[in-house]
Amino acid sequence: MTEAASITLARITAGIVCAFGATVLAWEFLRYMTVLPGDAAVAIAVELPLLVIGGWAARRLRPVHPPPLIWSAAAIIWGAAAAAGCALLANEGLGGLWARSAGPAFAATWSASLSAPLNEELLKVCGVVMVVLAAPQVIRGPLDGMIVGALTGLGFQAAENVTYGLNAVALHGALDPASAILSSAGYRIEVTGLGSHWAMTAVAGAGVGYVVRRGRSGLPPALACLLAAMAMHALFDAPYVPVLAKVGVNLATVAVFYLVLRHEYMARAHGFLAGQVAAGTLSSSQAADLVSRFCRRRSVQQATSGTKRAAVRAGQQQALEELDIAAA
């Protein structure tokens, strides 16, 4: 099989798994959509700002340039459809196993923290791997993996929020479905949102980036990242731990990891650009402009004709490509 054919196969497979996950979710919540269509629409609508603002913020966190929009959207869709739908089946299965073997009381307290970290972290990080397989140029190192992981986790988080909102309708006895949905969404976006799935999968996704950059020798740090993400998830679902402590620990973990990866990336990028300046390939001002979104945009706007603007853009793309290969 050729390289191109294998990429096409990866893309088709990802599409099929996303369609499968979306079907599972739709089937599970079909009754809500038919009995309470307006309330189900509210449950979905309140998550859209989270996706738009969260997606924008995650892409902005990538220094120098954001990941391609289409693959950012693909990561979100994997999280919201493939990972969330498959997790529904996997969690029902493992949760049922806990309830049947250890009893409903044990399962009510511990099932979430014993099932979700394993099932959900694996299914979400599979989305980051699928982006590597379907678009090899998007993830070149741990920082790229972290951003794509955050987007995958964000998609999962939004889909899970919808399911929690609809489940809250039953918990409140269908007395005021819209209020139950809004209350659930408000809590899960405003209170727990900052330390939730986007943070966990960002950490696991960075591990995928290590494998891309280092090959086999990247497997130990990748495993460490995955285990760290599972530990963050176990803490997040653990009983008896205050909510703010869970959110604070997860947010601090991902923030520190991000700052370290960003520092390393920028150090390598500046080193590469210094070499280009020394070799006379770039002027020092061109090198400084290249790492700034604003300066690159200004350079394009300053070009006097459409042809020149296209040439400047192409030159920037070429230079960014080389920068990414060197710095990721």
Binding site: M1, T2, E3, A5, S6, I7, L9, A10, T13, V17, R31, Y32, V35, L36, A82, C86, A87, L89, A90, E92, G93, L94, G95, G96, L97, A99, R100, S101, G103, P104, A105, A107, A108, N119, L122, L123, C126, V129, M130, V132, L133, P136, V169, A170, L171, H172, G173, A174, L175, D176, P177, S179, S183, V208, V211, V212, G215
Partner: protein
């Protein structure tokens, strides 16, 4: 990763294997463990998130709990032959919620038991003297009873839905009625 087509295919297969094992494997393994836990006659179970906010019911002979559909903080699902009894904790947020409980129960039936419609509600008095509403259910070859009772001193209610095939209804559903009537609110008794 990503260097060659063969390597890509290996990773693709690994991803698919993970998905198949998690989504198909856990449900399959789960079915190997019995779901029905028989209960001794007279067993009392507590439904609710805390001692202050909970209800208790007592089952008679022949009842089992369906473990995988039970979360003691929120709901129980009991079985006896073909009859299924769901006992659910309902959180109330407003004082007016109590008046709308029966109307909301109709919505819950549409969500969880499509095709079943409730008849006219009648008053029911449960074991500790609290009053609620009970009504007949029927539709699509099934019949049963639904009852809902609000806690006297806390913002919650207990909703009970008992359903069985219409053919074997009379006797089997009759043995479920004492379970519905056994409801107590322990916090109110203190």
């Amino acid at each position: 990763m990503g260097a060659s087509a063969a390597l890509r295919l290996r990773w693709l297969l690994a991803v698919l294997a993970i998905i198949v094992v998690l989504t198909g494997g856990w449900p399959l393994v789960s079915t190997t463990v019995a779901n029905l836990r028989p209960l001794v006659a007279g067993t009392t179970v507590t439904i609710g998130p805390s001692a202050v906010s909970s209800g208790r019911i007592t089952v008679g002979p022949g009842w089992s709990v369906l473990s995988s559909s039970t979360n003691p903080h929120q709901s129980y699902l009991f079985g006896r032959g073909a009859v299924r009894l769901s006992v659910r904790y309902v959180r109330l947020t407003r004082t007016g919620d109590r008046r709308g409980l029966w109307r909301a129960l109709r919505q819950m039936l549409r969500l969880g038991y499509p095709g079943l419609t409730p008849g006219r509600p009648r008053p029911i008095v449960v074991a500790d003297g609290n009053r609620g509403l009970i009504g007949q259910l029927s539709g699509r070859g099934r019949s049963g009873k639904a009852a809902v009772v609000a806690a006297p001193a806390a913002p919650f209610a207990i909703e009970m839905i008992m359903v069985g095939p219409s053919s074997s209804n009379a006797l089997q559903l009759a043995v479920g009625l004492p379970v519905l009537r056994s409801l107590r609110f322990p916090a109110a008794a203190r």
